[in-house]
């Protein structure tokens, strides 16, 4: 700013600095204080949210173990959850029952992110929960509510191919009422794009994960009972 014309009461530079620095310091202390006070509770909430979502798609699992794929496509145990978290699920006796993976892709309006469970026993996808969606209310969000669509996930065939390169059959969404094979998703009339997107999301993720899981998951030791992600009883 250029020199202001002489006024009756001119603000000195000192006053300006004093106000801005003072307010800045006051605000900084306040924000840090509130952050420190709430951070533990926020972490608990986020973990509980993920844990409840995991137990919702894979109810058989009592203990979970966070895993990830490393750069060579090998299954490794991780401490912290990555951007797209994945878990192995164990029952009370420590037997491996299934795995829960996160996957995302473009829907009708924005990224759709889902959590799904793969069960080793019947080699099928047995649960799906939409974590994040901005699809049109009343149309695209039917994938979260429509009973016949959710019925797809009682046992959606996801057998790995014999050579371990991917799935034996590609998961695809077909028109509503035209499901003939166990690896097909019965789509939703009026939410065609979103239901197709869900099939696509599952397919791209399962093609990568399922062969690796079948090959390597059993080699990973079961976690000890007080696992970090066990859903807490109190509440």
């Amino acid at each position: 700013m250029t020199q202001a014309p002489v006024e009756q009461k001119k603000t000195t530079a000192w006053q300006m600095y004093r106000a801005i620095v003072g307010i800045g310091a006051f605000c900084a202390i306040l924000i840090v204080g509130v952050y420190m006070a709430t951070a533990p509770q926020i972490k608990i909430n986020q973990e509980r949210f993920l844990a409840s979502a995991v137990s919702e798609v894979l109810p058989a699992a009592v203990l979970t173990q966070a895993v990830a794929l490393d750069d060579d496509g090998q299954l490794v145990v991780v401490e912290e959850n990555a951007d797209l978290p994945a878990f192995l699920g164990y029952d009370a006796e420590g037997n491996l029952v299934g795995a829960v993976m996160t996957s995302e892709a473009m829907g009708y309006q924005d990224i759709v992110r889902v959590l799904y469970a793969y069960t080793f026993e019947n080699q099928a996808i047995t649960g799906m929960k939409v974590l994040e969606t901005k699809e049109t209310p009343g149309l695209g969000d039917k994938v979260e509510k429509e009973p016949h669509f959710l019925a797809n996930f009682e046992a959606l065939d996801a057998r790995p191919a014999a050579d371990g390169s991917g799935l034996a059959n590609e998961i695809v969404t077909v028109k509503q009422g035209e499901k003939t094979e166990p690896w097909q998703l019965d789509g939703i009339t009026g939410a065609t794009i979103t239901s197709v997107a869900i099939g696509h999301i599952l397919n791209i993720s399962a093609q990568v994960w399922v062969p690796v899981l079948e090959r390597e998951a059993r080699a990973i030791p079961a976690p000890q009972p007080p696992a970090p992600l066990e859903p807490t009883e109190e509440e």
């Binding site: 603000t11 006053q15 300006m16 004093r18 106000a19 801005i20 003072g22 307010i23 800045g24 006051f26 605000c27 306040l30 924000i31 509130v34 952050y35 709430t38 951070a39 509770q41 926020i42 909430n45 986020q46 509980r48 949210f49 049109t136 209310p137 009343g138 149309l139």
Partner: protein, 213 residues
């Protein structure tokens, strides 16, 4: 009317109806339209905004002699942003679900012109007590307005109120009311009613004045 001394209760009450931030001043439209698709979202947004209004009003009023007028906008925004950040953390600590539902709109409370407007027009010229009362009144008025819009949109758009089903099975939901356009429709409907009521009020006052003279 302008020269009469204003009682503290009046500072609070004016925000509810006479100077209602949404229906009369038409301020803070972005959250009013975007986050009012269910009654519970409207209530949460209103509560968060009220908190920020009161705290920002208090701080600005306390610091009004300390802040030179050349630096007032930057100071106000800094104070408001601080409280919004605090609210953001607090809501996340209270409930992740609520935080997901309100989404980006919590951060956008910073640019809600209602808060800056009250800081500039009222808190910077009045004592802390009055500034807080004014903020509280405006906040409650804002919450009420959002709740009115939210109720209409939730009942028609989802067939529920505060998540409780209102109708027997088979109610046809009006998808448009949940979409952004429904916010405009519900808002316009309430503005129509409020303006009509105010017009009747004015007419009655004018007639009374004529009868007196």
């Amino acid at each position: 009317m302008a020269l009469k001394p204003v009682s503290p209760t009046d500072e609070f009450v004016k925000g509810l109806w006479r100077d209602n931030p949404v229906f009369i001043q038409v301020l803070g439209m972005c959250p009013a339209l975007a986050v009012s698709n269910t009654a519970i979202n409207a209530l949460a947004m209103g509560a968060a905004t009220t908190f920020v209004l009161v705290m920002a009003g208090l701080s600005v009023s306390l610091l009004r002699k300390f802040i030179p007028k050349e630096a007032r906008i930057v100071s106000y925004i800094c104070i408001i942003a601080t409280f919004v950040t605090c609210v953001d953390y607090i809501i996340m600590a209270l409930s992740i679900e609520l935080h997901r539902a309100l989404g980006a709109f919590i951060a956008l409370i910073v640019v809600n012109c209602l808060i800056l407007g009250r800081s500039e027009a009222f808190a910077s010229k009045n004592k802390p007590g009055r500034a807080m009362l004014d903020g509280l009144g405006m906040g409650v008025g804002f919450t009420f307005a959002l709740l009115f819009i939210g109720i209409v949109r939730e009942v028609l758009g989802s067939g529920t109120l505060f998540g409780v089903s209102m109708f027997p099975d088979g109610f046809q939901t009006w998808t448009i009311m949940v979409l952004p356009s429904g916010g405009f429709l519900a808002m316009a409907g309430w503005l129509l009613i409020v303006n009509w009521l105010r017009q009747k009020e004015d007419d009655a006052a004018r007639r009374a004045a004529e009868a007196e003279s």
